[in-house]
């Protein structure tokens, strides 16, 4: 017999939007984000009776989303493939208002999945170091080091991205 479906509907209606945004930041693709969230919601529905009684269902859902994303990344068809030639890739349209966002997303996409997850949890979901460690199932020290490395990488690439056009102007 189904659990309290109305309660589930209410919960999903309230949390769907932030979940999709979190998923998008993790995977950098809205279609994949919707797939991840759908999978997460199905898992949530199966355990809703138990989860709805928890103090913090949000933490459970976030953890499920993360696991779904990390598992998805391990799928064979997600692994890198060797190409004889460089395949065409969609190029983002960079306009004035979106340049910084695209830069941040592009830089996030270059990070390893767990390091990206650390940044999203810490700076988008506003979780503490301890909460992030709990969500990812790792130690506090790991979260701190992953955060530091991710920020260092972002900072380095942002500086490079900002300097390159200026240098080009100087030489042009």
């Amino acid at each position: 017999m189904p659990a309290d479906i109305e309660g589930y509907r209410e919960y999903v209606a309230a949390r769907l939007d932030p979940l999709r945004r979190t998923a998008y930041l993790l995977c950098d693709d809205w279609h994949t984000a919707d797939d991840l969230v759908s999978t997460t919601l199905v898992k949530l529905l199966r355990h809703w009776r138990r989860v709805s009684a928890m103090d913090s269902p949000d933490a459970y859902v976030r953890r499920t989303l993360l696991r779904t994303w990390l598992d998805e990344r391990r799928r064979p068809w997600r692994r890198e493939a060797a190409w004889a030639g460089i395949p065409d890739r969609a190029v983002r349209a960079v306009t004035d208002g979106t340049a910084d966002r695209v830069t941040v997303l592009a830089l996030l996409a270059e990070l390893p999945p767990r390091r990206r997850a650390v940044l999203v949890l810490r700076y988008f979901c506003d979780l503490s170091v301890e909460e992030t460690a709990h969500e990812l199932g790792c130690s506090v020290g790991t979260v701190k080091s992953q955060t530091a490395r991710a920020i260092e990488a972002l900072r380095g690439r942002l500086v490079t991205a900002q300097i390159t056009p200026r240098e080009a102007d100087d030489h042009g």
Binding site: M1, P2, A3, D4, I5, E6, G7, Y8, R9, E10, Y11, V12, A13, L16, D17, R20, R21, Y24, L25, W30, H31, D34, V37, S38, L41, V42, L45, R46, R49, R50, S52, A53, M54, D55, D100, R101, V102, V104, L105, L108, L119, V120, Y123, F124, D126, I151, L154
Partner: protein, 278 residues
């Protein structure tokens, strides 16, 4: 690094419309649950109940039929001396019992202690079986060493369940009753809650009780009947009976037809004593 957070928020400020169909997900999950319920009720439930109950009881040496013992973990001095319970095994949660739901979307939970509920409901069930079952039909408990069916309380689901085998001569069939608080989304009787929505009827009774009746074909000569009784007081009684027994090598027909009709199963499930709010 507040800039990272603000940049992330800006990057997802204008999401495209969602492709996620929550209702579709719920429907698909409902289909999966019904399929699982069908498989379990026809096969696994009886075997699982027997295995769970028989194992520890056999190890412990079992109890004499009819001995006035409370279920394991329950006090033996229960407040109803008229109902003798077998020393069965009550399922226990693997961890601490979760707190009650905090969203206010569930009906008020019964305040009756499970130990008292087991005694009261078992007494009511045995009484109604004694009165309502046809003379040549009897129910054997699924618990070894017990002659009569009795309820067990499942803490994880906060529901009571009683299982047994209907016997009539050489024919037999499953008999299972589950009693639980009515979930809010099930309060309105609807065939969407039936085991087989394609073969389902909703019957409304004068006392305000409604029954969702359903018949599920389970292969040639095999049939399973289910009733979901929704009482006005907020109690749901789910009843199952069938005419086959399934095992690892397939199912075996145990009777030419289920030994109870939908009317009889409905009547049993609607017995006044089978309520969580006495």
């Amino acid at each position: 690094m507040d800039e990272i957070g603000s940049e992330m928020r800006a990057a997802v400020a204008d999401p495209p419309p969602s492709r996620i169909d929550v209702d579709g997900l719920i429907r698909a999950e409902g289909r999966r649950r019904r399929q699982r319920a069908w498989v379990w009720s026809g096969t696994g439930v009886a075997a699982a109940v027997a295995a769970v109950v028989a194992g520890p009881a056999l190890v412990a040496g079992g109890a004499a039929p009819g001995s006035a013992l409370g279920p394991t973990g329950l006090p033996s001095t229960l407040p109803s001396p008229d109902v003798s319970l077998c020393a069965g095994v009550s399922p226990k949660p693997s961890g601490p019992q979760p707190p009650l739901q905090s969203y206010g979307t569930v009906r008020t939970r019964p305040v009756e202690a499970p130990a008292a509920g087991v005694v009261r409901l078992t007494g009511a069930l045995r009484e109604v079986l004694r009165i309502r079952l046809p003379a040549d039909l009897r129910v054997e408990s699924a618990q070894p060493g017990c002659t009569e069916p009795q309820f067990q309380y499942h803490p994880s689901y906060r529901e009571y369940q009683a299982g047994g085998w209907l016997r009539q001569g050489r024919e037999s069939g499953l008999f299972l009753l589950q009693i639980r608080p009515t979930a809010r989304d099930e309060a309105r009787p609807d065939c969407a809650h039936a085991g087989n929505p394609q073969d389902c009827t909703v019957v409304r009774h004068p006392d305000g009780t409604a029954t969702v009746r359903s018949t599920q074909p389970a292969g040639p000569g095999r049939q399973q009947l289910t009733v979901l009784v929704l009482r006005p007081d907020g109690t749901s009684v789910f009843g199952i009976t069938n005419n086959f027994r399934a095992g690892p090598d397939g199912s075996t027909i145990t009777a030419s037809a289920p030994l109870l009709t939908l009317d009889q199963l409905d009547e049993l499930a609607r017995s006044p004593g089978l309520t969580l709010y006495p």
